[in-house]
């Protein structure tokens, strides 16, 4: 007999060693997330997947599924917390969707849609951040980095290259490139690397791809992020 946890009153089976996120996703239950990807070591930094486990808040992507857990995910309180977190991500970066070529394919934007986020609530930082357009095929716009660490993990764990790292703390936190000049052109990154394709926002872009798919025909123009994420990730989760 398989072990089960309860998420929002629904019995979910799990296997030993799975996280709550993995068990939920394998059972087609969506928990909002940005820094999580089933192919990489959990990071637990974005906090969007915070759920209440037996009355205590935990991140579903890092917390193990254990027999008898009673988990709340879809409460109004948690959805409001997630909306505030998403609003903070928007005001701490410079996310101007009308001027971003990732619009419609952007997971940050799609999470905002999913949470019915209509405004940014907080005062904007308007932080001054640079772009790195030095590489012939790849562009980094630091204005849009949410420090999810996915490119760091993908470069290290899948590409075996260690191109990226997060440096500094608080407002001075930034994505850095492992090269003598600190510029992308002097690193050993390649346009086919997983790290280049994993960014959930428009921070890492491939050049000469913009508007290949017109606005209005992009992923989240027609599909909510819960159905897209479950379809793309459940196979890896259920592995």
């Amino acid at each position: 007999m398989s072990k089960t946890i309860r998420i929002d009153g629904k019995e979910i089976p799990f296997e030993e060693g799975q996280t709550i996120m993995e068990a939920a996703s394998a059972a087609d239950v969506y928990i909002p997330h940005l820094c999580h990807h089933p192919d990489y070591t959990p990071h637990g930094s974005c906090k969007l997947c915070s759920v209440q486990v037996n009355g205590r808040n935990c991140t579903a992507c890092t917390f193990p599924a254990l027999e008898g857990q009673d988990i709340i995910s879809q409460s109004q309180e948690l959805q409001e917390d997630r909306q505030r977190i998403t609003q903070m991500l928007f005001v701490e970066g410079n996310h101007f969707c009308p001027g971003c070529e990732k619009t419609g394919n952007c997971q940050l934007q799609a999470v905002g849609y999913y949470l019915n986020m209509l405004d940014n609530h907080f005062p904007h930082f308007y932080a001054r951040r640079e772009m790195d357009a030095s590489h012939p095929d790849i562009l980094i716009d630091h204005n849009r980095c949410i420090f999810c660490n996915l490119c760091v993990r993908a470069s290290r764990e899948k590409d075996g290259k260690n191109v990226f790292a997060i440096s500094g703390r608080g407002i001075n936190k930034r994505l850095v490139v492992n090269s003598s000049s600190g510029q992308l052109k002097d690193s050993d990154i390649d346009v086919n690397d997983s790290a280049v394709h994993i960014c959930p926002t428009g921070a890492i872009l491939i050049k000469r791809q913009g508007f290949r798919v017109p606005i209005g025909q992009r992923i989240y123009d027609h599909h909510q992020i819960d159905e897209v994420a479950l379809e793309q990730e459940s196979e890896s989760h259920g592995r």
């Binding site: 996310h95 849609y113 999913y114 209509l118 940014n120 904007h124 909510q224």
Partner: protein, 179 residues
């Protein structure tokens, strides 16, 4: 006329695209004007806002006149609505926030290509530019937000019909777009 809902609209640091989108409600405008009366608006060319039920604000806050107009709307409108990306997060005008204001003025009036008799305008009648462009919720309390660049005509229609029929305005997923 007296029992109609009074609506005022204005554009601060915006491109009037949100107003154009409002006009995109097309023939439904005839239904709307049976229910609402426009006060200050580019549609009426009335200079000052008087007591209104709804104030629609397009654009962000980039100069002293924007602050003045915004406060006049807040004082006179029972419900204030931030319309579009610029009103909500500063939008594309806020891209100048990454440069010093002096550099922006120099680029526009001194160093730009083809400029003759270069000088930065300093007429006392011109509103003073703010150091940065701000979303309107950083200046006044805002009651509702209609995201989009611009919000579609259906967003305006859904918002108006919900409000006029006594429902809490709610945008379905397919109408929430930031771009």
């Amino acid at each position: 006329m007296a029992d109609k809902i009074r609506v005022a609209t204005t554009s601060l640091a915006g491109c009037f695209g949100c107003h154009m989108s409002l006009l995109d409600i097309d023939e439904r405008m005839l239904q709307l004007v049976d229910l609402v009366e426009f006060d200050r608006s580019p549609i009426t060319d009335i200079e000052h806002c008087t007591n209104c039920d709804i104030g629609l604000i397009e654009g962000g806050v980039c100069n002293s006149e924007n602050v003045h107009v915004l406060r006049e709307f807040r004082k006179n409108c029972k419900i204030l609505v931030a319309v579009g990306a610029c009103a909500i997060n500063g939008g594309l005008p806020a891209i100048r926030n990454y440069m010093a204001l002096e550099d922006c003025l120099k680029e526009a009036y001194i160093d730009g290509i083809g400029i003759e008799n270069a000088q930065i305008p300093s007429d006392p009648e011109l509103p003073l530019l703010l150091d940065q462009v701000h979303p309107i919720h950083e200046v006044v309390k805002v009651d509702y937000f209609l995201p989009g660049c611009p919000p579609s005509a259906d967003v305006f229609w859904t918002f108006f019909t919900d409000l006029l029929e006594g429902r809490q305005p709610k945008l379905p997923y397919e109408l929430v777009h930031y771009d």
